[in-house]
Symmetry: C2
């Protein structure tokens, strides 16, 4: 097929007519499909149903050090859960605190604590005239909403194939002491699906921030969420790397079992240097007596150890992989050579990131919606919901069934073509008028 | 036995010698008993072990509206859990949000939110020169630690048999707009065990606060935690009463199942007016995607309805009641008529509040500790850990076994006598010197 940019005006109009007819056919079908949510599918959730059987009324609900998990207490998590979660996070159990069911909630609390009490003795952010955050874009909307909620100014940092643009990060962080942090999803990133290169991680660990309370918010949400057995991404462990670089306190690391066991009924954790953990605990011990230890015990009894978790993640991959392959196959079939859309083909995580030509993303999402296919709102992957080029769309294939994905993505590509050609025709007309 | 105050100096010295000998005998026993913790005993926890059986891998884990509890979502709680918790809290399910495992954490978050974002559009407390809180004393140390953590000035309000001194509350609240809240445990209060009278609740609902963002923090932690079938305290429902009085937004109400099912693995909730809930949700939806719905479902399947909860609480009472009776019996046997100690005899809750003559509480706790009996630190029941009269001690009989309680309280009364008589002898000597 011819590139759109090489079409004559007549060819464009013909193509437009053809696409409009196809689009009408879709609208007659009254579809109702949802490609917007990064949620595991029911089949994935079924993998963890056995977690409901591992504890029972006859069971001793004490943890390895004899503490009764049913009662109050244990602020940092039970020993065996700390060990398992430390293995998932690739750190020492001493560097971990286990929290409640949501790593997002941990991150919110970390920002909140920094805002009202400051970081390790530094001025609380609420007492400063201005606080800024770096945001790798496209990125995770819920990160951006937290910093927006606290009135923190967000600065876009472009995502490159190797990770964030580190020249820009280094230059900004070293010169502006109002910059207190950067949001990162370093592995199988949301939504681009790529992982930070070794060099990027090493440059992160060697940042020389102007602000002594600058922290890297390292949300390793997809740390073991591979799609393939054979080709997997590997990420340098950031805590160790920061220590090696003489910046042991510069990073907070987050993870959860939300996309391992049950989202919302999993366990979430943070890892950091002992100095940071001490600072965190001064707040945490005022905030709560302890998190849900029975659920911690349940997870350990179900997964047993990191090998159990790895086997479990392979089963997730078997369900997820075909979904990603369907999306990629259809994108190739429909858009290859047209030069009107570009997308990532990740080896893990939950998303495919799609870029149209500039100025089309909002219209594509709207056009798909009118035909019954819900996509993540255009702009959602940028701070303040504003994609400066209006071209990024996050595709989330995890939840719908395979047949639904086929239909939805086929329609999506049609919308991409239709919106693009309309834009080109309008441009042609406006140029002709001049 | 003679009142200590009526003893001659010689009698005092004889009594002191006798007590010292008895105390030495205790020290030889090398006891190690703990009367400090308001924790349920293992026997109480056993009552909820069945909760581990109600869900299993074959079970449908959807809630009543068909939502899959295993997955992300549902910010306010699943419908059946809201209904059950609303029954426990005596409010409408629409007025409830179900949170995580800890009502303390909810309260912390409410104060934190008010501090960084303000209450329903009013100035965030972090932007005010001064914020004050009223604290009913003696009260719950963990409440006071939250307000202390946020640098909020705390003002003591004496607890009377009818509840807080309402003359003082009304006068302060109506004249000082820096006063933003009051900590209350209105039923079977911690540690005094009394409940607010109808008149007290009505006066609360009719407060005319100078600060529009003043809120009553109504921690109904012991709402159904009766010790007796026959004589129980009744508390007017505060949300309805505030609405009736034209102050619908003036109260936040808190509760949890921590002392109903498993502490730390229960569920916690807040109730408030719809206006307040909307304000709370604006923060909550940034903070988390949802709390643990599987655990909400587990609780509903185990308790079924409010009648199931009530029956369950009777079983708790059967275990707790004898413990309170042992404490009260020994206090009577040892201290009646001496006029050196006064204590509460609550109909519910977890504590007995003991008052010595002024200036003795710290020494009593220390003397007991030296003989191997750990008590709640003297002063813990007051803001900043400072009991101005140094006389209040919280006794927590729930956790130890009945035999242990007997020994611990017998020793405790000995320490009360010993410290009191030592104080009286010292006073006599110092007067003689003058």
């Amino acid at each position: 097929m011819k590139k759109y940019s090489e079409m004559s005006f007549e060819e464009m109009k013909l193509e437009h007519e053809k696409l409009e007819k196809l689009y009408k056919d879709y609208r007659y079908q009254a579809l109702s499909l949802d490609m917007s949510r990064g949620k595991p599918s029911p089949a994935q959730l079924d993998l963890s149903n056995g977690m409901m059987d591992v504890l029972n009324s006859q069971e001793d609900l004490s943890c390895s050090d004899g503490f009764d998990c049913r009662n109050y207490g244990v602020l940092n998590g039970i020993p065996e859960a700390k060990e398992l979660m430390a293995d998932i996070m690739e750190v020492n159990p001493d560097n971990i605190i286990i929290f409640g069911n949501s790593s997002l909630n941990i991150m919110f609390d970390f920002i909140s604590r920094s805002y009202h009490h400051g970081v390790m003795g530094h001025t609380p952010w609420c007492k400063l005239p201005k606080v800024k955050f770096l945001c790798v874009v496209p990125g995770y909307d819920r990160h951006f909403r937290i910093t927006e909620y606290f009135g923190i100014e967000m600065i876009n940092i472009p995502m490159l194939p190797t990770g964030p643009d580190m020249d820009m990060v280094e230059s900004l962080v070293s010169t502006d002491d109002a910059i207190k942090g950067i949001w990162c999803v370093p592995k199988y990133s949301n939504p681009t699906g790529n992982s930070y290169s070794d060099e990027t991680v090493r440059r992160f660990a060697r940042l020389k921030p102007a602000a002594p309370d600058f922290r890297i918010y390292w949300d390793n949400a997809y740390t073991i969420h591979h799609l393939y057995d054979d080709h997997q991404d590997h990420l340098i462990e950031i805590l160790a790397e920061c220590k090696r670089a003489g910046n042991p306190d510069m990073v907070y690391k987050f993870a959860s079992t939300s996309k391992i066991s049950f989202p919302g009924s999993g366990i979430a954790m943070a890892a950091a240097s002992l100095n940071n953990l001490e600072d965190i605990r001064r707040c945490l011990e005022v905030q709560t007596i302890g998190h849900d230890k029975v659920n911690q015990l349940r997870h350990v009894k179900f997964f047993k150890d990191i090998h159990g978790v790895s086997e479990h993640m392979e089963k997730h991959a078997e369900i997820l992989r075909p979904k990603f392959e369907i999306v990629e196959k259809i994108l190739h079939e429909e858009l290859d050579d047209l030069d009107i859309g570009w997308w990532t083909e990740p080896r893990g995580g939950y998303f495919i990131s799609f870029n149209s030509i500039p100025g089309c993303a909002k219209d594509i999402v709207l056009t798909a919606k009118k035909a019954g296919v819900k996509l993540t709102p255009a702009g959602a992957t940028f701070p303040y919901g504003i994609d400066p080029e209006d071209r990024n769309i996050r595709l989330a294939p995890s939840f719908p069934g395979n047949d639904e994905i086929s239909i939805a993505i086929r329609l999506f590509t049609l919308c991409v073509k239709l919106v693009t050609i309309e834009k080109m025709i309008a441009q042609h007309n406006s140029e002709a008028e001049q």
